[in-house]
């Protein structure tokens, strides 16, 4: 009869992936309760900042780059230069924003730990995916219902 709870018949050798506790170089000295609460608030602000930056990546930054490209086209009369400026600006801003978010995400992990949470991984990937879904849905709504060519397509479809 098996009575030892750790006797699993050799099915699970070692720890379940992703469940290893965080190892510190030396045991951190935590701040007071007030400081931990403040750290919790700072972490929330940082999370909001990451979310905002992610949202910028899915609309405002590409639009700004298109505007810059159009200005270059207008000033030089060169379409190619306009496209080049747009793409260069887009890559620079998107990757810059991603690099910034990555750093904020790393700092967010530390602030969360300082606030007393067992924070093992960052949140950037999940927020990036969630904002992508939200922005895609918003774009579809705008495109099909509010203002985009979708309204014309729907009207033509009904007319024929």
């Amino acid at each position: 009869m098996r009575s030892d709870p750790s006797d699993n018949g050799g099915l699970f050798v070692g720890r379940r992936p992703g469940t290893a506790p965080v190892r510190f170089r030396s045991l951190p000295q935590r701040g007071s309760d007030v400081r931990q609460r403040i750290d919790g608030s700072i972490a929330s602000f940082m999370l909001a900042g990451i979310t905002l930056l992610c949202l910028l990546c899915w609309g405002p930054i590409p639009l700004a780059c298109l505007w810059l490209g159009s200005q270059a086209n207008y000033l030089t009369g060169s379409v190619s230069l306009g496209i080049l400026v747009s793409f260069a600006g887009l890559f620079a801003l998107l990757f810059g924003a991603l690099a910034l978010m990555k750093r904020i995400d790393g700092a967010w992990i530390l602030v969360r730990r300082a606030a007393g949470h067992d924070q093992r991984a960052g949140v950037l990937g999940r927020i990036f995916a969630a904002t992508a879904v939200v922005c895609a849905l918003g774009f579809l709504l705008w495109f099909l219902v509010i203002h985009g060519p979708g309204t014309g397509l729907v009207t033509r479809g009904n007319g024929s």
Binding site: R23, F24, R25, S26, Q29, G31, A107, L110, V111, A114
Partner: protein, 371 residues
């Protein structure tokens, strides 16, 4: 601590750093394991290895089958196997909770308060205790094995009321064997009414004569009782099981020695499994002792020790310049434990068990350094 330093202390170690640390820890453990030398315990006369898995399985099977009931009182199966092994009638063999328990029972059965039990000395420390528990007196007859029969016969003639003689052969702690011829002479010359309790717990290790020699004497000498054990060569000391064999008309006495409620079924199962399926194990152990015993004796004699001609799984050694206790203390510092002679009857001596070739090598090396 600065603001950034405060948050940096919450940085976890990277996977590479963690793995590097674990590798270092593992290497350190290996280094320590290689430098650590286990203590070699040569102070006990029991066999050092764990019981064979077949024996443990048999015990487990019996334990699962039902410990809620009483054991089979007469232990017929085990008695049958033992009787066949020794070529005697099962009625002449009884089981007990170890040979020591049967020896105690025999002493109680044979000795009336104030009567005497004779024993060689040094010998198994239980014998004087047995006499005391039977409200009798223990008379110790000192001296080596040569001439011990004469010394015993003299003591029997001298002492007023000797009823039994307890003899260990091979003797613990000296390891000396009382030869069958000498035993026969003792039995023939003893007066009527004196029984001989022959403790052969260690006889499996003897190679000077067949282990059945004493049992053959039972046919002619009704005053002889032979006691055997599963505690030594069989390595089952924890089971507490042994047996006694008597002569053809010893049934009444043997019945007095048998435990009132029999022997534990677990013990019977372990002993039965040992006899049935581990005889080769016993042979290997005995062969090991036969090979190593001369090496230990010769090695110690070359180092200046006086060593008895042991027929057991240990030797009884004395050094002219070193008390047994001092030798034991010096060897203990080298990680080798031996039994000092103080508690065994002769402070000059030490009892040193024999295990394997590696143990012999380590012992001799440690003794050389200790001198």
């Amino acid at each position: 601590m600065g603001l950034l330093d405060y948050y940096r202390q919450f940085e976890g170690m990277s996977e590479e750093e963690v793995n590097e640390g674990l590798r270092e820890e593992a290497a350190e453990r290996r280094r320590k394991a290689l430098t650590r030398v286990e203590t070699l315990d040569l102070s006990l006369t029991t066999w050092p290895e764990l019981p064979h898995p077949r024996i443990v399985s048999a015990i487990t099977f019996v334990a699962r089958r039902g410990l809620h009931r009483y054991p089979e009182l007469r232990g017929s199966d085990l008695r049958g196997v033992l009787a066949e092994r020794h070529g005697v009638d099962p009625e002449r063999l009884i089981l007990g909770n170890g040979a020591a328990d049967l020896l105690s029972a025999a002493t109680r059965a044979l000795i009336e308060p104030g009567q005497q039990l004779l024993t060689r000395w040094p010998s198994y420390p239980l014998y004087p205790i047995m006499a005391r528990r039977a409200h009798g007196l223990a008379v110790r007859v000192p001296g080596p094995i040569d001439g011990c029969v004469d010394a015993l016969l003299e003591a029997v003639a001298r002492e007023p009321d000797v009823r039994a003689i307890a003899l260990a052969s091979p003797n613990d702690p000296t390891g000396e064997l009382l030869g069958a011829a000498e035993l026969q002479r003792l039995l023939e010359q003893l007066p009527e009414g004196v029984a001989v309790l022959l403790d052969e717990s260690l006889v499996d290790f003897a190679d000077a004569q067949p282990s059945s020699s004493s049992i053959e004497l039972l046919e002619q000498h009704q005053r002889l009782l032979v006691f055997r054990s599963f505690s030594k060569a069989w390595g089952l000391a924890g089971l507490r099981i042994g047996y006694a064999i008597g002569g053809p008309s010893s049934g009444e006495l043997l019945a007095e020695l048998a435990p009132d409620l029999g022997v534990s079924e677990i013990s019977q199962a372990g002993a039965y499994a040992a006899l049935h399926s581990c005889s080769d194990l016993l042979e290997r152990r005995v062969e090991t002792i036969w090979k190593e015993r001369p090496r230990v004796i010769d090695g110690l004699r070359r180092l200046g020790f006086d060593v008895t001609d042991s027929q057991a799984n240990f030797v009884w050694a004395a050094h002219p310049a070193l008390q047994g206790g001092e030798l034991a203390a010096r060897l203990a510092r080298a990680g080798v434990l031996v039994a000092a002679g103080d508690a065994l009857g002769e402070p000059q001596h030490a009892r040193i068990a024999i295990h394997s070739k590696a143990a012999t090598d380590r012992l001799l090396s440690a003794v050389q350094k200790a001198l």
